[in-house]
């Protein structure tokens, strides 16, 4: 009996040894993030934000951006110029840049990468093929020069935004693809799902779904080897666990903390908090095809009924900034205007003017997750104050977006992530709708809300063709003002990207778009 007790004590003692000598090594950065969204690391398929955070470390594009997205900086292309009217752009590729395999990045690799992305034709390709429809649009001039011909003349800003799209415009090593292609899979898509063929600052060591992504610094990186040799991103879906993990030193940097935790880390010694507005928008939309939202006065009444401050300060705990225009802060062309605030009397009067003195009944759909469901309840309460009785229906994303795409909602609480860093990616979804039928060329948010406006749609089309960047941005401001006045959207806020790290983590630069975050400049003191 005594022997058993001793044995048990030894085993338990071994297992319960305090975490001695278990600090993270200085050359390794451990990031905790909810990365269940990652399903494929082939750049031609990368669409989700966090997938692109990883893609950003592995692949380079021809061009990149400074912190704010209005300055395009050289990447694999050291310079570029517009030929003729801006329809064709010529890129001069940096010489002597190696891929992770050791092969050199050349014009052939650039042509191959675009050809591959277009041939694979995965979901995110629309961002490229809307302007570069076929591989014939990309031509090798010599080993280090490539011409890209767009469908319409491009301003430099739009050229940079499109060529800077991660994943589909990332440059891939053709010889690696060649080595791993099969009869069924001529572009080695299956192999690239779990491996990399890039020239970025990090090489992919392994990706274990729902577990971790392990990256190793690429010493021959053209812009110098990364400051931190190893980066491991571990999957921590529970936000509360990310907080504990940061506190007890299991991770160096937490990606998805709750606003309350961020507030605590702001005042806690030994930690640093980073905040920046994000490339996303949260909004309430009203379906103009459903009565009574076809009436602009009703839509305006709803916009004046909503308590924006309560949503930002109460529900979002300050992790957002009030914004009411659809191009968020940080993207050129953003219009700074917040005319709507809670004004019950004005909202009631608008309802009287619209012919609804006694209010009406309606329905609000949202996802069953915070903060959207909380926002829906807040809006429900706000509408009750002006006599509008709204039922809140919670649906999982797959159900809600099916309903939305079928134009079958009344009021919806939803969000929108920016696809690429230019107003062009937003004016079409939020302002392009001349017909509400299935024949419409753009069936995005304005179409889903059956809010046709042909003159405004003509301005959107004209803005696309405008080559002068300054004039283009002026047109975007006009379009935003029109949508603000008359559109079906009550844009509530722009969420903040919030992160926290141990204070020995230096030079972490948060980006408007999380997916452009670079790990290569980060180091540990």
């Amino acid at each position: 009996m005594l022997k058993k007790v001793i044995l048990c004590s030894v085993v338990l003692g071994l297992l319960a040894l305090p975490a001695l000598g278990q600090a993270i090594p200085k050359d390794t950065l451990v990031v905790g993030a909810d990365m269940g969204i990652i399903v494929d690391l082939d750049p031609s398929r990368a669409y989700e934000v966090f997938t692109n955070v990883v893609i950003e470390q592995l692949y380079d594009n021809l061009v990149d951006f400074e912190g704010t997205f209005d300055v395009i900086k050289p990447a694999l292309a050291e310079s570029w110029e517009a030929l003729d009217d801006g329809t064709t752009w010529r890129f001069y590729i940096r010489k002597g840049v190696p891929f992770h395999s050791g092969n050199e990045v050349t014009a052939d690799a650039v042509v191959f990468s675009f050809t591959r992305a277009l041939a694979l034709d995965f979901a995110p390709i629309w961002m490229l093929d809307q302007y570069v429809p076929t591989a014939d649009n990309i031509k090798k001039i010599d080993d280090y020069t490539v011409d890209v011909t767009f469908k319409i003349p491009f301003s430099e800003g739009l050229m940079g935004a499109i060529m800077g799209v991660q994943g589909i415009c990332g440059i891939i090593d053709p010889s690696v693809v060649e080595a791993h292609k099969t009869g069924d899979d001529p572009w080695a898509n299956k192999w690239l799902q779990f491996h990399d063929a890039g020239s970025g600052p990090y090489k992919l060591v392994e990706w274990l779904p729902n577990d971790r992504v392990v990256l190793e610094g690429f010493n021959d990186y053209w812009d110098g080897p990364p400051e931190t040799k190893n980066v491991t991103i571990i999957d921590i879906p529970e936000r509360a666990q990310q907080r504990v993990a940061l506190e007890n030193g299991t991770i160096d940097l937490a990606w998805n903390l709750l606003p309350e935790a961020i507030d605590e880390f702001k005042t806690k010694e030994g930690f640093t908090v980073y905040e920046t507005p994000s490339w996303s928008i949260d909004y309430v939309a009203m379906n103009a095809g459903m009565e009574p939202f076809g009436n602009p006065l009703v839509r305006k009444a709803i916009k004046y009924a909503i308590d924006y401050d309560a949503i930002v300060e109460g529900i979002m705990s300050g992790a957002a900034i009030v914004g009411q225009t659809f191009i968020p802060t940080g993207i050129p062309g953003h219009l700074e205007a917040t005319p709507y605030h809670k004004d019950v009397e004005k909202a009631k009067q608008l309802l009287v003017d619209a012919g609804y003195p006694d209010g009406f009944s309606t329905q609000i759909v949202c996802q069953p997750t915070s903060p959207r469901k909380d926002i829906a309840v807040q809006v429900q309460q706000d509408l009750a104050e002006i006599g509008v009785e709204a039922e809140v229906v919670q649906l999982i994303a797959a159900q809600m977006y099916t309903l939305y795409r079928n134009q079958a909602h009344y009021i919806i609480v939803a969000g929108w992530g920016v696809d690429y860093g230019h107003g062009d990616s937003l004016v079409k979804p939020f302002a392009h709708c001349c017909s509400t039928g299935a024949d419409a060329p753009v069936r995005q948010l304005k179409w889903r809300n059956k809010s046709a406006n042909c003159p405004l749609t003509a301005v959107v089309d004209a803005s696309e063709a405008e080559v002068d960047e300054a004039k283009k941005l002026q047109m975007y401001e006009y379009i935003q003002q029109e949508v603000l006045d008359d559109g079906p959207f009550a844009i509530l806020f722009y969420p903040l990207n919030q992160f926290a790290s141990a204070d020995y983590v230096k030079d972490f630069v948060p980006m408007f778009s999380e997916s452009y975050t670079e790990f290569c400049g980060i180091y540990k003191e």
């Binding site: 319960a16 577990d211 795409r405």
Partner: protein, 335 residues
Amino acid sequence: MIGYMVRRLLWMVFVIFGVMTLTFFIARVIPADPVAAVLPSNAPDEAIEKERERMGLNKPIWVQYGRYISGILRGDFGVSIRTRQPVIEDLIRYFPATAELALTSLLMGTAIGLTLGVISAVKQGKIADHAGRVFAIWGLSMPAFFTGLMLVILFSHLLRWFPQLGQMPAYLRRPPHITGFLILDTMIAGNWRLVVTELRHLVLPAFTLGWLSTASIVRITRSSMLEVFPEEYIKTARMKGLRESRVVLKHALKNAMLPTITVIGLRVASLLEGAVLTETVFSWPGLGRYGVSSFLSIDFPAVVGVTIFIAFLYSFCNLIVDLLYGYLNPKIRYM
């Protein structure tokens, strides 16, 4: 015995086929578009249509069902809409982590449950009895995410006895993939220091999950023991002068084990349910998290794959329990 097993196996096939068909159709009557779940909400309609065609979801439902059944008969569970991997490969990838967690938690739950059950029976009505039962009921009543977080705060954050999450520290490299079972692979690699680290990582999630099983095991062990204590052979054993511990553990417990075995057998499959929350709380890369993500994405092939797998495991455990009956009690005969 052989005939009984064959009948049971046929019944198992029937049950699994039924589960498969029901799941297939239930998943499809939900008014939700799996493509909308997989692609970002801002994907344009053309991208959605392209993806739907790629997934074969534009075909009539009977065609999809026919393809699915014929696929399964050939051992092909289809390709997951979300992960874009063959479902069978996903199941193989995620199962080992869950199996390690579930088996450890079952061992922990059984050891604690049996011990508390015996103590409660021996000390019936006394403080140890009440304390044991309160402990067991507590584990059953508290949701795993709460228990898990509390254990993390106490044993990981404050006391720093056990690691907080994952199967191993983030900064260490995994051993070469041989069996998929991390601890086994680490043993094969001969890295015993890492084995101890991995066992330490296993303690909190396994205890969280095992605690769920404790309540039913305590209750059934206690009541079975109390039924056995008045039996003549126990009295005889005591009269022979055997030590009380020997009477309780060798004579009473062995005879009281039959209902306990049933409960333990049924808990094996139920552990997979508990694993869903436990794996999320402890960032454990297992089948539970895979299942949840698949359900939320309306990932038809993965949902049906996970469901068939759990149905199979449930039926298999029932069969094993039935066969164990005969071993433990020779009076039972199979018809």
